[in-house]
Symmetry: C2
Amino acid sequence: MIVRKTLDIEDFDVREAYGVKADGVTIRWISEKRLGGPEYMHNFALRYFVIKPEGFMPKHKHPWEQEVIMTKGRVLVTSAGTKREVGPGDVVYIPADEEHEFKNVGEEPVEFYCVIGCVGEGENCIGLEEL
Amino acid sequence: MIVRKTLDIEDFDVREAYGVKADGVTIRWISEKRLGGPEYMHNFALRYFVIKPEGFMPKHKHPWEQEVIMTKGRVLVTSAGTKREVGPGDVVYIPADEEHEFKNVGEEPVEFYCVIGCVGEGENCIGLEEL
């Protein structure tokens, strides 16, 4: 087994790392394609996001599903035009190819885990950290 | 998108539901193969476990990977003979076919999310709740 401590993992600013118009969003890649050998199978990857107050992740979409496990704060999720405000204990499941965005609508940071399905050779499941 | 509230989902006693020698362990299936259409892809399923104080999940293994996201309590994980005590913020990644077990070693309930990869036709990713 591999044990990782979420907050010990290097965080990257999403705007800088990916060149998208996010504001105040960081990503930590907790598990990904390069972590562990083929016995880890890598059907999915796990990331951890923090969104500062007033921060947001702009509209985007991708050809794989994702699932957000809320742990802190209040976030407004808009997906395919539907809006839902969610908080700790809520889980948001977003299908492939659906345009979605996140906006911190609370006064504290938003924190969530995000699982994505790995597609093709898992090119979408490669993280930013040097492993 | 589909939004699910973890604690609103029906929980099942693992011993009763699966006939294993678990004690004080419940499972909630948060997302699984039957939830949402093919656009959800179902490369993975998400479950939520609660283990009461002194409760345990006995040694078992399965031909898919799993990842545990700890949210509450202290649990001793033994996997392939290696022992690690983990708590909130820790993530435990267990490869396919590795024998593992969980034991609550704290005074409060252990709570964690658990992601599994779906294999074959996703037979291992079908939950217990009537959908």
